[in-house]
């Protein structure tokens, strides 16, 4: 019916239907509310228009009425709040075994890298029906990764990782927008999400690649000399990284943090920030020595040390989803 004049974008992710259902509920609630007030105002305005000799009847107010129209709206608001919160939690908690894609935003382009090593610019190919988790950071200002058809948006910040996830449900090509104003070509920082049938996607994936991201990370790990201290056995000057990812880490000052993406990132760029219990703060910073893409590869490598398989991430999903999103930096601390 609304083919030429749609009221919502394509519904192409597992989240989209949930968001639209709540939206339609809200349209009905607020439509009824508007109608109620509109009818009351029009009726009163017509019925009680000024007539000669007819005086207004003074009415002081009514506490039962005041309570009615405070408590009923409050009840309705709480329903909306709870429903909205449920939808939000679902859309913010990446499934544990999601495929990972690293996103680096910069003025004014999106750089994406699959865990398997495929790189893309302003375009992301994904298969239908698979959970995809985006691990995102920015090289410069704040951007926002927004796909209307997925009802999905997350700001992308410099200096830390933020995460979002989706499961595409319908093949097609969808808009990718930058939704946080980022300078001159903000409205040009757009791209597309190409959702493919799994078979097509496999064919696409078999195209040229430099190997999995974790393998690139392993190479960088060796080149930068990390391997001399972070040895596979526990004899090195730095803590061994085997099986660390996704696990709690006891720090020198007694705190315990979860080793998630942001923790690994910070430990590379600002090693003195969180010293592992029993080790000396001897590691130099790698700030300025590694690019965002190299950082992503290193994170993928550290992650791979905790996995048996290649794509499946152990506890990291939960670890990234929640504590990571805390407002201040040093968000890895679980208090």
């Amino acid at each position: 019916m609304f083919d030429n004049f749609p009221l919502w974008p394509d519904r192409a992710s597992s989240t989209a239907g949930n968001v639209d259902a709540l939206y339609i509920f809200l349209l009905i609630v607020s439509g009824l509310m508007t109608l109620l007030i509109f009818i009351a105002v029009v009726y009163f305005a017509a019925r009680y228009r000024r007539r000669r000799g007819v005086l207004a009847e003074q009415i002081e107010g009514s506490i039962p009425l005041e309570l009615t129209w405070s408590i009923i709206p409050l009840g309705v608001f709480l329903v909306i709040f709870a429903w909205g919160a449920v939808v939000y939690f679902k859309s913010r908690t990446p499934p544990r075994d999601a495929t990972e894609v690293y996103v680096v935003a910069k003025q004014w382009m999106w750089k994406l890298e699959h865990a398997e090593g495929q790189r893309e610019i302003n375009e992301l190919h994904v298969p239908v029906g698979r959970d995809v988790k985006l691990i995102m950071t920015s090289q410069d200002v704040i951007h926002s990764f927004y796909v209307p058809a997925f009802r999905m948006k997350q700001d992308v910040l410099p200096g830390r990782y933020t995460v979002e996830w989706f499961r595409a449900t319908k093949p097609g090509t969808y808009h990718l927008f930058c939704a946080e104003y980022c300078g001159t070509q903000h409205s040009g920082m757009i791209g597309s999400i190409v959702v493919m049938e799994p078979a097509q996607f496999e064919a696409w994936m078999s195209g040229g690649t430099t190997g999995p991201l974790s393998a690139t990370g392993e190479k960088i790990f060796a080149e930068l000399g990390c391997v001399t201290c972070h040895r596979a056995d526990s004899q090195g000057r730095g803590p061994s990284l085997q099986g660390v990812f996704g696990k709690p880490v006891l720090l020198e000052d007694g705190r315990t943090v979860t080793a998630d993406e942001n923790y690994v990132r910070e430990s590379i760029l600002d090693p003195g920030a969180k010293i592992v219990n029993g080790f000396k703060p001897v590691m130099p910073t790698f700030q300025g020595l590694v690019s965002e893409e190299q950082l992503n590869a290193l994170v993928a490598y550290v992650k791979s040390l905790s996995n048996s398989g290649s794509g499946g991430m152990k506890a990291n999903a939960a670890a990234v989803a929640v504590p990571n999103a805390a407002p201040a930096k040093g968000s890895q601390v679980n208090q």
């Binding site: 009221l7 919502w8 974008p9 949930n18 968001v19 709540l22 809200l26 607020s30 509310m33 508007t34 007030i37 009351a40 105002v41 009163f44 305005a45 009680y48 000024r50 005086l55 003074q58 002081e60 107010g61 009514s62 009425l65 005041e66 405070s70 709206p73 409050l74 608001f77 909306i80 709040f81 909205g84 939000y88 859309s91 410069d140 200002v141 704040i142 926002s144 209307p148 009802r151 999905m152 948006k153 997350q154 700001d155 910040l157 410099p158 830390r160 808009h175 927008f177 939704a179 946080e180 104003y181 980022c182 300078g183 001159t184 409205s187 040009g188 805390a326 407002p327 201040a328 930096k329």
Partner: protein, 544 residues
């Protein structure tokens, strides 16, 4: 209670007491300062409106054709900064509040008349700095100044714009301070808190926000300037700062600032509903305390602007819940205004048409706020045109309709002249229709996914953008009309009687225009607010 007065051209009043530029620039009369503000904010309103017009023209087509991308970014930035800091925030408090707060409580002037003049000068200095900033290149960060774009990337005039807003902010603080002290200390004998017009309650609540909130934006601006000039790491992660800290600080002021705009407007329409329904406001104390509740809760919801910014999901939960809490007192007000009409004796003069317009637009603005406060929906619609439409319904549909309604309602008192009623009703209608045509399509655009601050956009969004631009031109005509007939009425309008609406309230018991000290002798209040039963009672002379 027809007042025994006709044309009164010869009576001495605040306008004809002294002439000459000096008598205005050095005045400490709250009514003259109100007029100084009226002229200055009208100037900025039309500058901001001009920017809006260019924005809408650019968006007529999906490609960027009228202006360059950088120019477009500056246009929406300057539109926001001018409209928020130099029109909406001062609008009702500094013009109508300045004029009416002392008169409504039976005082000769505000508590600190010279501070009041100082606040206008601060506004003018801030405004001049803003004009200078615009003429020398402007700013392209959006009125929100998000870091690290504003501190480390843009090469536009951030520090200059920040300074302008910093200075203008003190003007706002001083106005708020003056109102609070005046309302506490200067009420006429018998004018108890429960007899105050609700316009005063609304301004009291607004003043609290101005005093407590504005210093925070001032500090934030200083921090931005410090990071930008001295490269001290506060917000920029490259320098060890935190960009989200900026957003927390910015919205800690800028969300309550919305209530600085809307609360006084609620106060205005409350007076109008009472007068044109000839009734005491339904649930006086609930309307009064809902203003205070909005001011208090308004300080606890700022992070609902940041649900996708990277805050914790638990923080988002708390701020979503509190946002619904602030919606309750707003809903209470809407229901009480509606109930006030019940069994009234209603007339549809222009101020009442604006009040009806306010009610409709504020209701839509408020209800769409429920969408944005719902976490699941906000993820999709935040930073899209849905948000743009929502806050224009509140800040323009709500605040500006109230301001225009109030200007019409008190124009006879302010100018001593009547405005042409027919033209005024026509303008109210045009504004209402033009407004809806401009901003309603933007809700749909937003849900369709069009991000805000886009200079070019995918072609499927064009139809709705064309509708919106068409509406904006209608709206522009609606805003120009009052400007023209108000000016016309100052010379050609019929002289106004002291109380043309036969309205309750001390301000109507003085001459139109009032004398310099408002009242011949200090009034003594022995009646409740909105005593329309006494005013309309047959055969009794009236309240004085």
């Amino acid at each position: 209670m027809p007042m025994p007065n006709g044309p009164q051209g010869e009576r001495e009043n605040y306008l004809n007491k002294e002439y000459g530029v000096g008598s205005w620039l050095f005045t400490t009369d709250h009514k003259r300062i109100a007029l100084l503000y009226l002229m200055s904010i009208t100037f900025f309103f039309f500058i901001g409106g001009f920017f809006a017009l260019l924005i809408r023209l650019e968006l007529l087509t999906p490609v960027g054709d009228l202006v360059q991308a950088d120019t477009y970014n500056k246009l929406f930035t300057m539109h926001g900064m001018v409209m928020v800091f130099f029109f909406l925030i001062p609008s009702i408090p500094a013009v109508l509040g300045n004029f009416l707060v002392p008169m409504m409580i039976g005082a000769k002037d505000l508590a600190f008349p010279r501070v009041n003049l100082l606040s206008w000068y601060l506004y003018i200095i801030g405004g001049a700095l803003m004009l200078h900033c615009m003429l020398t290149g402007g700013v392209d960060t959006g009125w929100t100044f998000y870091t690290p774009f504003s501190t480390a990337f843009t090469n536009t005039k951030i520090v200059e714009a920040g300074l302008a807003i910093f200075v203008a902010g003190f003007s706002s603080i001083l106005t708020g301070l003056n109102f609070v002290v005046t309302i506490h200390r200067m009420r006429a004998p018998g004018m108890t808190w429960s007899r105050l017009p609700l316009f005063i309650w609304a301004h009291y609540a607004t003043s609290i926000i101005q005093i407590l909130g504005t210093p925070v934006i001032a500090i934030t601006i200083v921090l931005v300037a410090v990071e930008r000039t001295l490269h001290l790491g506060i917000f920029d992660p490259k320098l060890g700062g935190d960009p989200l800290l900026f957003q927390h600080l910015f919205w800690f002021y800028s969300h309550p600032a919305v209530y600085i705009m809307i609360l006084p407007s609620m106060g205005v329409v409350t007076e109008i509903f009472a007068c044109f329904s000839r009734k005491r406001i339904f649930g006086y104390s609930f309307v009064a305390f809902s203003s205070i509740a909005i001011a208090v809760f308004g300080f606890l919801v700022w992070a609902h602007h940041m649900f996708v910014a990277g805050i914790s999901v638990y923080a988002a939960l708390v701020f979503s819940l509190l946002s619904y809490a602030v919606a309750v007192p707003s809903a209470v007000k809407v229901f009480n205004w509606t109930a006030t009409l019940y069994k009234g004796s209603i007339r549809y003069d222009a101020p009442m048409l604006y009040a009806f317009g306010f009610l409709g637009l504020f209701t839509i603005g408020g209800l769409t706020g429920l969408f944005l406060a719902a976490l699941g929906i906000d993820v999709h619609v935040t930073d899209t045109y849905f948000v743009v439409a929502h806050f224009h319904y509140i800040m323009v549909g709500g605040a500006l309709m109230g301001y225009l309604g109030g200007l019409h309602f008190w124009w006879p008192k302010i100018s001593g002249r009547l405005y042409p009623e027919g033209w005024a009703r026509l303008a109210a209608l045009i504004v209402f229709l033009g407004f809806n045509l401009t901003f309603f399509p933007q809700f749909i655009l937003g849900y369709m996914g069009m991000p805000r601050r886009y200079y070019q956009y995918p072609p499927e969004f064009q139809v709705l953008n064309v509708l919106s631009t068409a509406g904006a031109t209608v709206l522009g005509v609606g805003y120009l009309l009052p400007m023209i007939y108000f000016l016309w009425s100052m010379r050609y309008g019929k002289p106004a009687p002291d109380n043309p609406w036969n309205a309750a309230g001390l301000e109507w018991q003085t001459a139109s225009p009032p004398t310099t000290f408002n009242f011949e002798e200090e009034p003594v209040v022995t009646w409740e607010a909105y005593n329309y039963d006494e005013l309309d009672a047959p055969q009794t002379g009236g309240a004085i």
